[in-house]
Amino acid sequence: MTAPAQALALTALAEERLAYRRSRARRSTGIALVSTVVFAAVLLFATTASPGWPRVRESFLNWRIGWDSLPAILQGLWLNLRVLVVCQILILILGLTLAAVRTLRGPVWFPLRALATGYVDLFRGLPLIIVLYLVGFGLPGLRLAGIPNNPVLLGGLALVLVYSAFVAEVFRAGIQSVHPSQLSAATSLGLNYRQTMRLIVLPQASRRVTPALLNDFVALQKDCGLISVLGAVDAVRAAQIQVASSYNFTPYVVAGLLFVMLAVPSARLADWATRRAATRQGAL
């Protein structure tokens, strides 16, 4: 029988196996590195060797024009960011409300349930660009008092309308994924339906759907650029103005890269949230 202290020191055999595993790991890393370099080289060669490359480089990757367009695009991006934050908050509230309404039970609530279902069907089905046109040009066209004709507000409204329909469905899936036994347990403790929802179901559901929600928000981030079709001077519109004055497409590339840089942290956040949810439930 081995003593505890001896068990902690590795035997020569285990040392050798550990070394073998490490050398395999190093080998895998090496292979990954070589394969990446080769792949990148092939890609680079295929692009730069194409006959039209010099012209494409001149009209899409002109450093000077890109650099000159940066301040205007950044200013536009600041607008996108503000729209994003406000829309995200409104979408969460509206989406959660819609989801809650759709899960209401009892015949009294039928009209509300039907309304919410119709809303979700309508706005999930409509292409975002059409909603933007209808809201952006149609609403002010009614000439009702109190309806703004600010393209940023109207564009934001269209985004909220469409995205809350998607987010509502994500929430609803989360609510329905909470096991019925949880409802039984809460009900048997004397909680009513609203208390059960608020204290038992929604906390579990929102934890479960965080990764899916973050995924929707990454999509929202880039779709914020679509408010430019209503004339709001956001990053995309700013780039368009630069393109029109310089006859060069580089500002679009700059705006695109900025949107990607905006999306990357959210994507990592989504990964992290997914991982954490999995770890908590003991899957990892």
Binding site: M1, T2, P4, Q6, A7, L8, L10, T11, L13, A14, R17, Y20, R21, R24
Partner: protein, 252 residues
């Protein structure tokens, strides 16, 4: 360790160490299992019984020591773990049947996907096995429609479907209602009598006494006493074993 001199052991564990971070779960375990032998692991929760079975089935990487199956060191990282696992069958405490597959599909999954048997052959053998565990009429049902005892019998049939050299049973009756324990243990008894080589972690002391050739008592991640079932269970030498058995027997 009780050695069975005539034959080479099917399984031989040497100096097995398993850690989770700083915590030593198995602190140097030695265990030999001869062909047709039934070895029962007893011990309190957290003593390392389950971890030992998982390490043997290569479901966990081990930190030190060797696991030798039929003379081949399967804990060597150069040995194909997937191939080694094909010689072992494991049954879990929580059944772990696949809920989206019928009972027959559960049983024939490995023969068809891993061993490339054709469908009719695998189905025929699957139905035979289900008949043997007394569930022939449930072949096309889904696991959720079955009682716990029935599910566990399906899980045993699934583990036997590719005729493994060694059967590992991890507290397979712990999640069952008392009146369902009997049907599962009866099946294990039959398997033991037909000469299966079995390593089994259990809390069923009466069953262990009746069926086991060897009983090992684990405490704090090591086997501190092992021997014939009668000897360990009625006349344990080690003080910790005596304490454990007193606690178990004093339960109402």
């Amino acid at each position: 360790m009780k050695e069975d001199p005539g034959s080479a052991p099917v399984l031989s564990v040497r100096g097995l160490v398993k850690r989770y971070g700083e915590r030593v779960v198995l602190g140097g375990v030695d265990l030999d299992v001869a062909e047709h032998e039934v070895v029962v692991l007893i011990g309190a929760s957290g003593s390392g019984k389950s971890t030992l079975l998982k390490c043997v089935d290569l479901l966990e990487d081990i930190d030190d020591g060797q696991i030798v199956l039929d003379g081949r060191d399967i804990s060597d990282p150069r040995v194909d773990a997937e191939e080694s696992r094909r010689s072992m069958g494991m049954v879990f405490q929580q059944f772990n049947l696949f809920p989206h597959m019928s009972v027959l599909q559960n049983v024939t999954l490995s023969p068809r996907v891993v061993f490339r048997r054709n469908r009719s052959e695998a189905d025929e053998r699957g139905r035979e096995l289900l008949a043997r565990v007394g569930l022939a009429e449930k072949a096309d049902a889904y696991p959720d429609k079955l009682s716990g005892g029935q599910q566990q019998r399906v899980a045993i049939a699934r583990a036997l479907a590719y005729d493994p050299r060694l059967l590992l049973l991890d507290e397979i009756t712990s999640a069952l209602d008392p009146e369902l324990v009997g049907e599962v243990l009866d099946l294990v008894r039959e398997l033991a009598e037909s000469g299966r080589t079995i390593v089994m972690a259990t809390h069923e002391m009466g069953f262990a006494r009746e069926v086991a050739h060897t009983v090992c008592f684990l405490d704090g991640g090591r086997i501190i006493e092992s021997g014939g079932a009668e000897q360990v269970l009625t006349d344990p030498r080690h003080e910790r074993t005596q304490q454990f058995l007193r606690r178990v027997h004093s339960r109402p």
